[in-house]
């Protein structure tokens, strides 16, 4: 892939970074520095966009600004953060404009400059960036990065914008959407706990679910814990004998639900009555894909 990328970059005069993840941004930056090509780089998330031209006219490269990659847990992917097509479109048009200016021999406005677009406040702001850094490992005076490296290990994250799939629980602590469907169909008494934030619950939810965001469980929110206690007691009254109340936890994709299961297991028998708690693998999106195609996907 590196040979491909190097060849690819050598074939062109200008590179536009339209990628969506950190390792790819370091990779494209290094390929541009090593082959001496200007890099017109745009990014967008939620209601904001950023645009800079790196490695241009003696200005800084991406690594001059960001010598150390951000901790992976601080990077919000587009699926979690949300992306608005119009914002990406605005940034893409500005990016294309800079490419055309450079290609036609005019000067780009964004060498050593960062354009920030705040779509919420309809505000553009341009700020002056640091100069090319003498100590930069790829474009500095004594570079140590002289060929492309392994960017996924450098960044500690995969070169993808896909949601990470956590695997915190054992198989016995999880059910598939098909298994959950049969639990519903059999009328087995249980609680369905939706741990997504309210804004996502408002988009869509399963009618029988009770809603407590993961953050409330983490913070031990007293109102929410009491609410859960009540629901457990109500169900317990309807159930026979010594059975523990089964609680199934659901979220969008099946990551937060696993964290919630771990928290609830700690609370089971202490803050809460003893419960059996499992999460639904793949969450509501798996439900939409495999069980109910009319359930909204977002």
């Amino acid at each position: 892939m590196f040979a491909f990328l190097t060849t690819c970059v050598f074939m062109y005069d200008i590179v536009a970074d339209c990628s969506d993840n950190v390792p790819t941004r370091y990779l494209v930056n290094d390929a541009c520095v090593l082959s001496g090509k200007p890099l017109v780089s745009a990014s967008a998330l939620r209601m904001e966009g950023q645009l800079t031209v790196y490695n241009y006219n003696g200005g800084p490269c991406y690594r001059c600004l960001y010598p150390v990659p951000p901790p992976p847990e601080t990077v919000t992917n587009c699926s979690d953060g949300g992306v608005l097509g119009v914002v990406v479109g605005v940034m893409g048009c500005l990016q294309a404009l800079e490419v055309l200016k450079i290609a036609s021999g005019q000067k780009s406005s964004f060498g050593q400059q960062l354009l920030m677009f705040d779509a919420q406040d309809s505000r553009f702001r341009c700020i002056k960036l640091r100069a090319k850094q003498a100590g930069c490992v790829v474009c500095g005076e004594t570079p140590t990065v002289t060929e492309l490296q392994d960017y996924e290990s450098f960044c500690g994250s995969a070169a993808t914008d896909k949601c990470r799939r956590l695997n915190l629980l054992s198989a016995e602590q999880r059910v598939s959407v098909q298994e959950y469907k049969s639990i519903v169909d059999c009328g087995t008494p249980h609680l369905l706990l939706d741990v997504r934030p309210k804004v996502e619950v408002d988009i869509c939810h399963l009618p029988v679910s009770i809603k407590i965001p993961l953050a409330s469980l983490e913070d031990q929110n007293a109102d929410h814990i009491n609410f859960l206690k009540e629901k457990i007691s109500e169900l317990k009254l309807q159930m026979s004998s010594e059975l523990q109340v089964p609680v199934y936890v659901v979220c969008k994709l099946g990551n937060d639900s696993q964290k919630a299961v771990q928290l609830l297991e700690k609370m089971s028998g202490t803050e809460l009555e003893r419960i059996t708690v499992k999460d639904i693998i793949g969450g509501l999106m798996a439900w939409a894909n495999k069980i109910d195609p009319s359930f909204p996907k977002y």
């Binding site: 950190v22 950023q50 847990e73 601080t74 919000t76 920030m116 702001r125 914008d161």
Partner: protein
């Protein structure tokens, strides 16, 4: 004694989410014996403004990698970074770099 100074703080690119989603803050830093610098400002923000998960904002005595600091519309690297001495009415922006698209 250095007099109290009023400064304007802004958070963007998602960094505002650590401050209850509030992007702009007008704050007054109390009087102290030495002039305020950015290093002390980070401690003050952590103690007075930050609502959650400080590790997503600060690392050691600086900001975490991936946050760009702007002082009066210029990269803080041009201004002396942590040692920059704050002036009354300064505008300090903390912006989280965006990677998506």
């Amino acid at each position: 004694m250095a007099a109290p100074i009023a400064i304007h703080l802004e958070f963007g690119g998602g960094a505002e989410l650590l401050f209850d989603g509030v992007k702009e803050h007008h704050v007054t830093l109390p009087s102290q014996s030495e002039p305020w610098d950015v290093k002390q400002l980070l401690v003050w923000i952590r103690e007075n403004l930050l609502k959650e998960r400080p590790e997503l904002f600060v690392q050691g005595d600086s900001v975490r990698p991936g946050i760009l600091v702007l002082i009066n519309d210029a990269d803080w690297e041009l201004m002396g970074e942590l040692e920059y001495q704050l002036q009354d009415q300064d505008n300090i922006v903390f912006i989280s770099t965006l990677h998506g698209g």
